[in-house]
Each structure stands twice: as C-alpha cells, then as structure tokens.
Symmetry: C3
Subunit: 253 residues, 3 copies
Amino acid sequence: MIITLTTDFGLADPFVGIMKGVILGIAPAASLVDISHSVPSYDIDAGAFALANAAGYFPAGTIHVAVVDPGVGGSRHPIAVAAGGQVFVGPDNGVLSLAAGRFETGYVAHRIANEQWFRHPVSRTFHGRDIFAPSAAHLALGAVIELAGPRLDSMAQLATAQSPARVLAIDKFGNIVTSLRRAELGPAFTLRIAGQEIRRLRSSYEEAPRGELFAIEGSGGFIEISAREDSAAARLSARHGAEIEVETGPSNH
Amino acid sequence: MIITLTTDFGLADPFVGIMKGVILGIAPAASLVDISHSVPSYDIDAGAFALANAAGYFPAGTIHVAVVDPGVGGSRHPIAVAAGGQVFVGPDNGVLSLAAGRFETGYVAHRIANEQWFRHPVSRTFHGRDIFAPSAAHLALGAVIELAGPRLDSMAQLATAQSPARVLAIDKFGNIVTSLRRAELGPAFTLRIAGQEIRRLRSSYEEAPRGELFAIEGSGGFIEISAREDSAAARLSARHGAEIEVETGPSNH
Amino acid sequence: MIITLTTDFGLADPFVGIMKGVILGIAPAASLVDISHSVPSYDIDAGAFALANAAGYFPAGTIHVAVVDPGVGGSRHPIAVAAGGQVFVGPDNGVLSLAAGRFETGYVAHRIANEQWFRHPVSRTFHGRDIFAPSAAHLALGAVIELAGPRLDSMAQLATAQSPARVLAIDKFGNIVTSLRRAELGPAFTLRIAGQEIRRLRSSYEEAPRGELFAIEGSGGFIEISAREDSAAARLSARHGAEIEVETGPSNH
C-alpha cells in the first residue's frame, strides 16, 4: 500500500524520517513516497496545490498524508477524507480540499478521533507524528475510514478558492503556474502581470524563440507563463499569490 | 528490515544514492528511510542530535547508519553498537553516542573489522559506501553483531556532552531547540539568550499571541524557544551551539 | 526491482513524487532510489556525471531513469539503453552516455516508441511522467528492451566529452571533482587552477595539514582538489566546467 507525504517540514530536520518510522512500525510493508516537504512554512494554499497536482497520478487505494498545520494543538480537527478511490489524511484547514474536493462523485470526511490509533502522549506540536502518521498506517493496514471517528458534513475550504486568476506556484525552473485552465483563455487572449503582456500560447518549450515570454499548458493542466531555458518568474519578479489580469478575444495592439 | 541513514552528504551529490545502491545490492528487501542528509558538514554534534531525536520512533530491529565523519580514512574506528533493541552503525567519533547511549540497559559496542563485509578496495574518503552501508546490509540480513569484530569497552562521547544549556539545533520553522528538559525549569524560570529574557511556557503554538517569544516543550522532549508563525531564531539571531543562561524560581522583574 | 531517478526537477515541486506515483501504479513492487534531483536546471553534463558516478554501485538488473531534458517536446527521441547488465532510460541528448557508454562490452540502444507504455495524452512538457516513468516501470515488470521500439545505431554524446581537463562537479563539501584519473598524473604533477598550483597528492583528508590545498583520488575514481574540513571550491572560486592546466613530471619551482 502506498502512503504519500506532503509537509512544510523541510528535509533538514528529522521530522519526516520520524513520521516514516512511526508508519513503518505499524505498517511495515507500506511503500512511502514524498510529494514535497518544501511547502513554504504555514502555506496551506501551496501544500494544497502540491497535493492536488500529484494525487491523480497515484493508483486507487493510495493514502495521502498532508501536514501544513499552523493551528496544530489548537481547535482544528484532524480528518480523513475518502474521495476518488483514495484517502486523504491531515488537518481540517483546507490543505486536503483541492485534492479531495475535485471529484464529481463527491467525498466522505470523517473526524479522526480514534485514540487507539494515536501515539501517546499526543504532543501539542507534532500531530504529524502522533496522529496523522499512525492513522494513515492503520488505514493502510485495512481499517475502514468509519473507524476514524464521526462523519462530518463538510471539510474546510481554502480562503483563496474563489479569488480571480492568480499565481499558484513558481516551480524550480521559474515557470509561473497560474490558476487558469486552457479552456478559460479561448483562441486569443492577453495576460497582464507585472506590467508585461503575454499573448502567445506555445505547445512546447522548444517551439519558442529564446527570450520570449509565452503561455503554455503545463503538465498539471494549468496555464503557465514560461521562457525557454530561462526563469519567467525572475524576469517578471512574480510571486506566489500575485493576481493576473486576463482579457480574452482579439487584441488591437 | 528498516535501515535509516543520517549524513552530512546533502542530497545534491549522488553519495546517498550510492550508499542505497550498495545496501540494496546486498539486502534487496531492506526498507530505507532518510533521517537527514542536511547535517552541517563535519558537525558531529548536530548529526548525533538528529539521530537521537529520531531513533526512538523506529521499531525494534531497525538499523541506523550515521555518517558524519571528518576523520574518514584516519585513525577512528568504524563501530556497530547494539542498544535498546536497535543497532547503530557509524564512525566511533561520538555521532552514535547520544542515540545509543541513552538506554538504562546500556549498550554493546563492536569494532567493525570484518573485511568480508566491506566493498574492496576500501577508499580512504568514502567509508559510508565501502564499510558502513555494506555492514548495515549484512546486519539487516541477520548477521549477529559479534561477527562485526572485537567488542569494545566503550564508544567515543561528544566533546560537548557536559556543557551547560545551549542551542542544540534550529529547525526549519526557526524554533530554537535547547538542551534543556522540562523538569530542569520548574514552575518559574528565566532563559536569557541574545540579551532577551523568556519566561513564559506555552503548551501549544496557537495559545501564544503573535509577536511573543515563548518556551514550549518540543516533540523531542527538549525545551524550545518559539514565536507563533514566526522565526524565533531570526529574531534572536540564534546559532547552533550558543549558550543559554538559565535561572529558575520566581523572578523579581 | 530497483529503479533509480536522476533529474533537474528539485524536490520542492511535486514532479518527482508524480513520477514515483506513475511507476508504482504500474510496478507496485519497484524499489525506488533517488540519485539526485539537484542537477542544475538543463545541465546535461552534470546529470550525466551524477548518473555515471552512481550507476556502478547498483546491482545488475537496475533500471536508471535520467531526466535532464531541455529539449522536451521537441525533436530528440526518448531512448532505452542496455549496458553492463543494467538499463538506462531518458532523452537521447547525452545524459545517458557517460553511464551507459563506459562498458567495453558496448551498449544496445532502442528508441522508445511503444505508445502502449505511455500515459495518454502525452504532454509536451513532462515526458518524465508520461514516457520515461511508465517505460521504466514496464521494463521493471520484465518487458524486454526490444519492445521499446526500433534499435538505434548509436546514442547522442556529450558536447564536452573530448575537452581537456576540467571541473566536473563541486560537491557539498567544496571538493573540486576534476575529469582527471590518477594514472594521468604520474608520480609528480602540477595542477593550475585560478592562479594556484597544486602539487601534493594525499591519500586521506586527515593526512593533510589544515589550510593546504591538495589533490586526492576521490571515491568516484577522479582526482579531486580538496582542503581538510574546508571548501577548496570557495578558496579557488572554482566553477563547474572551468579548465584545469596539467603539467606532469618533476617541477623546478
């Protein structure tokens, strides 16, 4: 059984290794895959985007654990969410909502309240170790999600879910991942960001002349703003969360 | 069988992957877990702390390999140490001492001198590949520790083991991990670091008002100095190894 | 079956995790090992060097996937190359050539054109996910390389393969890895880099006095320029690709 991990813990500290030790102590045959541990500290949006981008490429039955959890030890609940044949485990602060909320068949969310699953004593600062890792391991062993705790009517959503077009992420190559889908742009469009206009859609990097800023449909299905073998983000000083102005239809310029 | 790896090799170079290749060539069913490869270069204390923090969360039978080894190729011995139902493999320079030395039941240390376990020729610069990885793999296959080589009376300790309160580590969130345990502080205390005084103990991050510097018992059992969703280390310019002045009992300030 | 991954994707974005999800969806029992994901963006030479350095330490049957692919979606072909009992999968741009080309027994290269292996639709920007990961998984399941596609007469080589002595890599410790082999230097030599001369060959770091710049045979079989517990690269402002002047035989200085 595959268990994936997405956190803002980084890889320098032993936190991720500790979660894996707890998981393997309960479910020795689990196959562990890191999605990302470089989510910016406390950035629930970025964690939700990384998980939503990756989850669809894993087989049915995969259990995804996401821990971006500025409210750890406070009032937010731990939850387990079944959606699309997979299970998502993490705090109920929106970090699971993009990945688990995109299925037309809906989702089923349960509060995790089964103390038999927890490591004791449960710390106030590291639920990844004491609640989320062991819960994922018990689910991987075959426990049904109903054993986690009472069913919830809904899960928390991201505060930014309804905002206009914006920068979702900057990847390592400096590609600017936007919240726009190809179908939203139509045959002609103008994107405005940082005083620059982008009007060209390319279908591969190699098709673009060096130096050009262009739009391209990224592998995650979102429109990205790119420059061939160059950082579009550096050229536009683009930052995560920045708004993008979108105009569709023919342009007179 | 689980084998963990803790090194100062970083993840950019192929060294960690090479160690894993050597291990899997001998013990194909080993389950490999990274604790940290971002230990600062040559920093035996930091490597010892990362391993000691993580080891207790792994099940009995786990084999831990730690390679922070400025003396590689010199006179220090490779050792294997059985303690608490686990085995620790690395150079005899103190890097194993915190993790393997904390059990009341003691430890049993053996020099690793069994050349049948080594990759040949043994390089002078990469014992992680030629001695530690294959030795861990042979132990994972079930070899008893007595086969490693002659028993030793003791293992090397950290030079800093007896020093007063100090900063053990700065984590990715800017929490300052100190060498202090909760019981050492009592009901009232003052910690002095970088000209600032910390007197409040919080039991969760969310309990603290933003902007406050507070103490909290971290997940590893050490007192940490923290600020809610902020970097305490940046605010105090705290560095690994810095001393902390501790006063217990009521304060007149 | 072991599958290794070498890319310039970094670990912050979910790209590596996505490739692993695709692989495990096809070949659930695959054992995945990261060689490096910190290859500088688009640096085919550096990716080729990391893979060549590591591949020999993996057992026969290992499948190595390398994706440093500035031409993705363009005219370069995906290839699978059998050499030395292992299989190498990646773009035909030279990134596989150092690792797969060093065997006296030669290599057998096939274009990967079997669309039954691909994820559909195949994106123009992420062949790691849609072509290389699933092809490696099918090979791990036992598919013979002839099923990949037509045999090729040769594979692309690195543009730099014939250049004089140069800096192949800077490792995390600041060791300068050169393209020189021990046998090329003879009993006496002078290396000139950045206006400094290095004439001493040491057999371990510990043998050198602190402050000295010296040559040493690194674990990968290349001559490295090092300083004990110090960064030779920082002291010499050495960069990847820089030329090194080599003089052999006794010196008059």
